[in-house]
């Protein structure tokens, strides 16, 4: 909308009816006096309806007098007149204020609670826990403690790995991410086995029987703390006395040293592309589903840098164009300082080694071997990172199978 069409509504305007024989002269006079007239309609040969800014009316009246035209205001419109009318209508003002207050009041409550991201968990389960923590339709927005709701969801629904409560307007959204690969029966029997190769440093057993001691070398998958009780032990006899199988859910911690290896390399030369100034263009024009290509798709240069420009319109027609510009480049080889290449190769090797480490592992020692291959133009680095970390992971036991 143009400003010229908005301003009269803000400043107020009048719809006038002009009656007389010399209406064109009247219009010319008014316009010459600086009046802006719009939506002029000739109702009859001697009758005209037009609109003008309210402030221009005195000038219009003067022009009308000069040309013997009868002028009448048919309607006053725009914001000032609307406000003036509203001032006289108290009920209207009170009603408007009440409506605004009601809307404001209602917007302070949560009216809808949605659950997003749940797959195996039902929305009802999540909503029930959220309601227990104070998030339900009809509560005041300020009364909802998001941290409490999130904590309660974590505590009561162990299937949830991450959750966030977001309140936007009258809608609260509970976003959940469920755990993947969660052992459905998290209380069943099993062993603690080694998650990787390493040397045991410390063994702490909470339940079960230790199978390894500090200094032992272990392989991936090797049992570290057994969930199968050995015959003769007190707990073994207790289990049998209760008519149960001599299995427990092994619990404990086995920390050990693990070595990670990484490799990295960095070139002793780098290539720089320098534009020669020669270009090759390929234009594709599309109208609807059809396409036309102008120019050869293969540029006549050995080394190129591509640049793509495009434009498309949906209206009034579905058309588009794509211009591919191939700039010919000259590939220049520039030597890289050996120290810099060494640093880069070492950093890459260390990064690759560290990347394999699990969260919670502590680096004890790092060692990097560097070789410079002048023929191939690269610096090669191999890193060994020694870390202390948790070696064990729980492995459930299907009792029937193990016994058989």
């Amino acid at each position: 909308m143009r400003l010229r069409s908005v301003w009269p509504v803000i400043g107020g305007y009048v719809i006038i009816r002009a009656k007389g024989g010399r209406l064109e002269a009247f219009i010319n006079r008014a316009v010459a006096a600086g009046v802006h007239l719009w939506r002029l309609e000739r109702i009859a040969p001697h009758l005209l309806v037009a609109r003008a800014a309210a402030g221009d009316f005195p000038r219009l009246a003067r022009a009308a007098r000069l040309h013997g035209v009868q002028l009448r205001i048919v309607q006053k419109a725009g914001l000032p007149f609307f406000l003036a009318r509203a001032r006289r209508r108290h009920g209207f003002i009170v009603g408007g204020a009440l409506c605004a207050a009601l809307l404001y009041g209602l917007s302070q409550f949560i009216w809808f609670v949605r659950v997003e991201g749940n797959e195996r968990l039902s929305a009802e389960e999540v909503l029930a826990v959220a309601a227990g923590a104070g998030l339900r339709p009809g509560v005041l927005r300020d009364e909802v403690r998001r941290d409490i709701v999130e904590r309660r969801l974590h505590l009561e629904l162990p299937q949830i790995a991450w959750t966030a409560v977001n309140v936007r307007g009258a809608v609260a959204t509970v976003r959940v991410v469920e755990r993947t690969g969660l052992d459905v029966d998290a209380r069943g029997p099993g062993h603690i086995v080694s998650a990787g190769d390493g040397v045991v440093e410390r063994v702490t057993v909470i339940r079960g029987e230790a199978l390894v001691a500090p200094g032992d070398t272990v392989r991936q998958g090797q049992p570290l703390i057994s969930g199968l009780l050995s015959s003769g032990s007190e707990s073994y006899d207790d289990k049998l006395a209760r008519g149960e199988l001599p299995y427990v859910r092994a619990e404990g911690s086995v920390r050990g040293r693990v070595w990670y290896r990484g490799y990295g390399e960095a070139p002793l030369f780098r290539t720089i592309d320098e534009d020669t100034g020669r270009v090759h263009r390929l234009l594709t024009v599309r109208i609807g589903e059809r396409e036309w290509t102008f120019g050869s798709p293969e540029p006549p240069f050995a080394d190129v840098r591509w640049e793509r420009r495009e434009g498309a319109w949906k209206r009034p027609w579905d058309v588009g164009w794509t211009l591919h510009v191939a700039h010919e480049v000259r590939r220049l080889r520039e030597p890289v300082a050996e120290a810099l290449a060494r640093e880069a190769a070492m950093a890459a090797a260390l990064a690759q080694a560290r990347q394999q480490m699990p969260v919670g592992a502590t680096v004890v020692q790092e060692d990097v071997q560097v070789t410079i291959d002048k023929e191939a133009g690269v610096v090669r680095a191999s890193a060994t990172v020694e870390a202390v970390q948790e070696l064990g992971r729980f492995s459930p036991v299907a009792i029937g199978q193990e016994e058989g």
Binding site: R4, L23, E24, I27, N28, V31, A32, G34, H36, L37, W38, R39, L40, E41, R42, P45, A50
Partner: protein, 92 residues
């Protein structure tokens, strides 16, 4: 004198490669589809009816004919005619 001044202004605009309507008050008429005519640098209305609108310009009389014609807006320099435009003619 007026004519000489206008002629000089036109020649100057032509020599400097400027649009003719920028120099002096030559009328500029723009037809948008068949529903709107914008006349810049007009010199007033001569006649206005729903079938014909005659506008005074520095180059003569611009006659717009059509059906359900009306004046969308009129300012000192600018005039917009709306309706169904059938014919535009410059009468000298």
């Amino acid at each position: 004198m007026e004519r000489i001044r206008e002629s000089l202004a036109e020649r100057l605009a032509s020599a400097l490669d400027l649009p003719q309507d920028v120099v002096g008050d030559l009328p500029k008429t723009t037809l948008i589809g068949d529903s709107r005519v914008l006349v810049e640098n007009h010199r007033g209305l001569i006649r206005y009816s729903p079938r014909e609108i005659r506008i005074r310009t520095a180059r003569g009389e611009l006659v717009v004919t059509g059906t359900r014609l009306h004046i969308g807006s009129i300012l000192r320099q600018e005039l917009v005619v709306g309706g169904r435009i059938l014919h535009i003619e410059l009468r000298r």
